[in-house]
């Protein structure tokens, strides 16, 4: 009999499975659950993108592409990043097409981390940075960002955790789950702290298209002091509603992208070919679709934020992504307690803030990738719940 506890990698077995998994499993067994849990768009991939995928299959484009990804696609990515975020990457050697933004994050951290290197991770944030850092042999250093700072990482917070082992700073903005964004001034403060160090920045900009102030997202790499140290990660999932196509990209200085591509070449070979052809269409011709979806998200966002505040759950305005992050502190419950009771008594599924780090305690994440009617129904159930627990 094999003792799997002994044969499996200890770093991996030490990673706790997400508590949320269990929670979603419970929700899945219940009827009539109304969920605000899903973190992916409810829109179909725009038809012209799907058609481009289909046509590429009809033309027999079913082989591997270059390790880096199709050059036509990399050229479009380069144009797109310059057009939208004023950051210039060379299609020939500064862009790698990956299997979603997730792969880009994994590869980038693996390419950077030596055993024992520290990775600064602002939380509450998306769940992958900590485990991937550990698997790559790094040490996660958590910065608990604060609601009163709109969940931005501040220069002082950053300065206080930098050591001579610091290798990477992760900038996960616009933020899942808080909806926080970093404005240009905020980033310039961060740049001052990093100035003169060799600390690299991994900027996860998967929600870059989803900002609501009317001003475009500020990509750190577009600012002085960032480009040479920044790996920009983005992808097609959220902006173009292409989650299942699994396509993203990593951009950065050539020497870094060269090494990332080395790992990608052995682990993945090349990203899905059909998706790459579809993505060319997305970048070339779908600005209007993106605009339409953004407008819908914005209406839902206003609805859900006003709704939470109205029923007594204080909710800051999320400036980006598609999540509201209201406080449930007024109920006196922990986040998990609140979510579990809400699920059982009103069949509404939301995610406890603690799933995104300890600093998420006292908050819940509610996705607004749902119709306005769906959101209104969920809010009215939450309102009933709040009345009953009073």
């Amino acid at each position: 009999m094999i003792d799997y506890g002994k044969v499996l990698n200890k770093t991996v077995t030490d990673i706790k499975p997400s508590g949320i998994r269990k929670f979603f499993d419970i929700a899945a067994t219940m009827d009539d659950v109304i969920s605000l849990g899903v973190g992916e768009p409810d829109f179909q991939t725009p038809w012209s993108i799907r058609k481009a995928g289909i046509e590429s299959l009809q033309r027999g484009k079913t082989k591997y592409t270059s390790n880096w990804g199709l050059i036509e696609l990399r050229r479009e990515i380069s144009n797109y990043l310059e057009r939208k975020f004023s950051v210039k990457y060379c299609p020939e050697n500064e862009i790698l097409v990956t299997v979603g933004g997730s792969e880009a994050i994994d590869m980038a951290l693996r390419a950077l981390i030596n055993y024992g290197d520290e990775v600064i991770i602002p939380q509450p944030s998306y769940v992958c940075y900590e485990p991937i850092t550990r698997i790559a042999g790094g040490v996660p250093v958590i910065v608990n960002t604060k609601a009163e700072n709109d969940f931005k990482i501040t220069a002082e917070e950053l300065r206080s955790v930098i050591t001579d082992k610091t290798k990477v700073l992760i900038l996960p903005y616009p933020s899942n789950p808080t909806g926080a964004i970093m404005e240009k001034e905020d980033l310039l403060e961060i740049a001052k702290v990093l100035d003169g160090t060799d600390i690299m920045v991994l900027s996860d900009e998967i929600y870059a298209e989803l900002t609501f102030s009317g001003k475009p997202h500020v990509s750190p790499a577009s600012l002085e002091g960032f480009f040479e140290r920044t790996i920009t990660v983005n992808g097609f999932s959220k902006a173009f509603s292409m989650t299942g196509w699994r396509l993203g990209f990593a951009c950065g200085p050539k020497p870094v992208i060269d090494e990332i591509t080395k790992i990608h070449q052995f682990a993945i070979m090349s990203s899905p070919t059909t998706s790459q052809y579809a993505a060319i269409e997305a970048l070339k011709n779908c600005d209007e679709d993106v605009k339409y979806m953004l407008k819908q998200y914005n209406m839902r966002r206003r609805m859900i934020v006003a709704g939470f505040n109205k029923i007594g759950l204080t909710c800051r305005e999320p400036k980006g992504a598609f999540y509201a992050f209201p406080s449930i502190q007024s109920t006196g419950m922990t986040s998990e307690e609140f979510c579990e009771k809400l699920l059982y008594s009103k069949k509404v599924a939301v995610v406890p803030g603690t799933a995104f780090g300890e600093s998420g305690e006292g908050f819940i994440r509610a996705s607004y990738c749902y119709s306005v009617e769906h959101i209104k129904e969920a809010l009215s159930r939450i309102e009933e719940f709040l009345k009953e627990i009073k």
């Binding site: 979603f24 899903v38 973190g39 992916e40 409810d42 206003r302 209104k376």
Partner: protein
């Protein structure tokens, strides 16, 4: 903003001014003003429920009737169109480009009702030279609303 308000009301006439003001980021008073102006100007002509009559057995049959009409000098198609739209059985009257002139949507309780209505009322109008009646067999989408069960939310319950 007028256009935005109309778009929302065309999606759901039950949105309250409060809902609309929240979604568009304007005040409730502004929404109320815009709506009353649109009502006054007859841009908004009414608020009706979207009903799936097929859910009620035998409650509703409808047909599209194509009419060819000899237009009257000086009046064109207006006279006959106005006459036809007065019928209780007529739900819609459109002047068409192409092979025929007027497109009429007729409703009735039974196929027989509609057949009689076309034969006795529409076909006998002086200027009508021919009719072609097409019964509606099934409604998949009406007034922008999908009536057959749409796609379920098949998003994986992944934790992202």
């Amino acid at each position: 903003m007028k256009y935005e308000v109309l778009k929302l009301l065309s999606q759901n006439a039950k949105y309250s001014p409060e809902d609309i003001s929240t979604m568009l980021g304007i005040t409730e008073a502004e929404v109320v003003d815009i709506i009353s102006e649109l009502e006054k100007d007859n841009v908004i002509r009414g608020y009706k429920a979207v009903i799936d009559w097929e859910k009620l057995d035998g409650a509703y049959v409808s047909a599209i009737v194509e009419l060819n009409v000899v237009p009257k000098a000086g009046l064109g198609f207006e006279e006959v169109a106005e006459k036809i739209m007065k019928y209780r059985e007529v739900e819609a009257v459109y002047l068409m480009s192409g092979d025929y002139d007027l497109n009429i949507i007729v409703k009735g309780k039974t196929l027989q009702d509609i057949a009689w209505f076309v034969a006795k009322e529409l076909a006998t109008i002086d200027s009508v030279t021919s009719t072609a009646t097409h019964f509606v067999m099934r409604r998949y989408k009406d007034m922008d609303v999908e009536l057959i069960t749409g796609v379920n939310d098949d998003r994986g319950q992944l934790f992202v």
